[in-house]
């Protein structure tokens, strides 16, 4: 696989972990209670750890001058390849959990396939990640059930979050040119094949949570091509602030 294509393919996976990790990090000290606050930041830590492994690999492929920090902090909005779902803001706890659940189910299916990649490094990162993401999915699924099948208010808020975030789910299964190239070479995962299983798992959990599956025919997309929602710029200005204000600063 051409280096540049592989790097772009890595961004396509890693940027999701970075951006969702950033969203979860924003909750540090702001979670609804101490335990959930710690849980969300723990998941953020796992995701940022995975991001580092991917970016270190991409930096290694890019040549000596590029570091993992350059990739995380110094790209422009259009150069981030994350899906729109993960950049959606922390509106309320029902949104946070629904966004997490929608991504966790996909994330686990993706890593379960990626562990068979012909690229040894990607396979190793995936194998490590599976252990962590299974745990995330258990956490978010439990909360979906607890909120959906909870009080009238929690049910209503979670149903709203499900209805609102549903339009971002289809993008998860779209193949970019880099994806197609990576799939052909046995390096990447054909995400379009994960779709059926994804909606089955999501449907089962929603049903148990007494939530209904939206009947939506229109979906939003663009993140994978770098065309993001209006929230992304704000997120990046926060994420990149220190490196932009004090270039090359270190801890």
């Amino acid at each position: 696989m051409k280096k540049e294509n592989l790097i772009q393919y890595i961004y396509g996976i890693a940027d999701n972990a970075l951006i969702l990790g950033q969203r979860l990090s924003e909750l540090c000290g702001h979670g609804p209670n101490l335990e959930t606050d710690i849980a969300c930041t723990n998941m953020a830590l796992d995701l940022l750890g995975q991001t580092r492994s991917y970016y270190q690999y991409a930096a290694h492929l890019s040549g000596e001058k590029v570091t993992e920090d350059d990739i995380a902090f110094l790209r422009t909005e259009r150069q981030y390849k994350n899906v729109l779902l993960v950049e959606q803001p922390n509106t309320n706890f029902a949104y946070i959990i629904t966004r997490q659940f929608f991504y966790d189910v996909f994330h686990l299916l993706l890593l379960q396939e990626l562990q068979n990649s012909k690229d040894e490094t990607l396979a190793a990162i995936a194998k490590k990640g599976i252990k962590e993401v299974s745990y995330h999915q258990r956490f978010s699924s439990d909360w979906i059930k607890r909120l959906g099948d909870g009080t009238e208010v929690s049910h209503q808020k979670t149903q709203e979050a499900v209805n609102d975030l549903w339009k971002f789910t289809d993008e998860l299964f779209q193949l970019t040119e880099e994806d197609k190239n990576a799939v052909e070479l046995g390096v990447g995962v054909d995400v379009s094949l994960l779709k059926e299983k994804y909606y089955q798992i999501v449907g089962e959990v929603l049903e148990e949570a007494t939530l209904s599956v939206p009947e939506l025919k229109w979906f939003r997309k663009g993140g994978k091509e770098g065309i993001h929602s209006e929230h992304m710029g704000y997120l990046l200005s926060d994420l990149q602030y220190m490196q932009r204000t004090y270039p090359n600063m270190k801890w």
Binding site: E35, D46, G49, R52, Q56, T121, A123, A124, K128
Partner: protein, 167 residues
């Protein structure tokens, strides 16, 4: 980032590595933790490879620095690198490590199936490291670090960390 399949430790380096402990669980040496995968002298430099417990474990950077310091005290230059595969599992914690965890107040990981039952709240099997009772309940699936969950003993009421099974 390379891939290393088996653990290769030079016995002569063992005693130096054993002095380095996990910064978040100071009673536990990194050897008992099972994170050192490779340690050999190559051209008079100690080449050490470690593997993270969790991808985002912030202790790894500190452990790397501590290893270099431990070797420099013996006038040996050391180089530390990270390996990801095979992924770390709680099975690599040695029996001595498990004992150290318990004495420190952290419940050691159960086997995979039992762990699931405990974390889902189906069975009361996690033993309180303070009083030994298994009448304990999970407070939160995520604890003070990524590798632990928070439990509480319903007999002595003491809250404690449980080291989650990772396989």
């Amino acid at each position: 980032m390379t891939i290393e399949l088996e653990q290769h430790i030079d016995p002569k380096l063992f005693s130096i590595l054993e002095k380095v402990s996990d910064p978040e669980i100071p009673v536990l040496s990194i050897m008992d933790m099972g994170v050192v995968r490779f340690a050999q002298m190559v051209n008079n430099i100690a080449q050490i490879k470690i593997t993270p417990t969790y991808s985002g474990c912030p202790a790894m950077d500190v452990i790397g620095d501590d290893i270099i310091n431990a070797f420099s005290q013996e006038n040996i230059e050391a180089k530390v690198s990270l390996v990801l595969s095979p992924a770390w599992t709680t099975d690599w914690i040695t029996p001595r490590g498990r004992k150290a965890l318990e004495e420190y107040g952290i419940a050691a990981p159960l086997e995979e199936d039992a762990d699931k039952e405990a974390l889902l709240g189906n069975k009361k099997i996690v033993k309180c490291p303070q009083c030994g009772s298994t009448n304990t309940k999970m407070i939160s699936q995520f604890g003070s670090t990524a590798c632990k969950a928070l439990f509480q003993c319903e007999d002595c009421l003491e809250p404690f960390d449980y080291f989650k099974c990772l396989k």
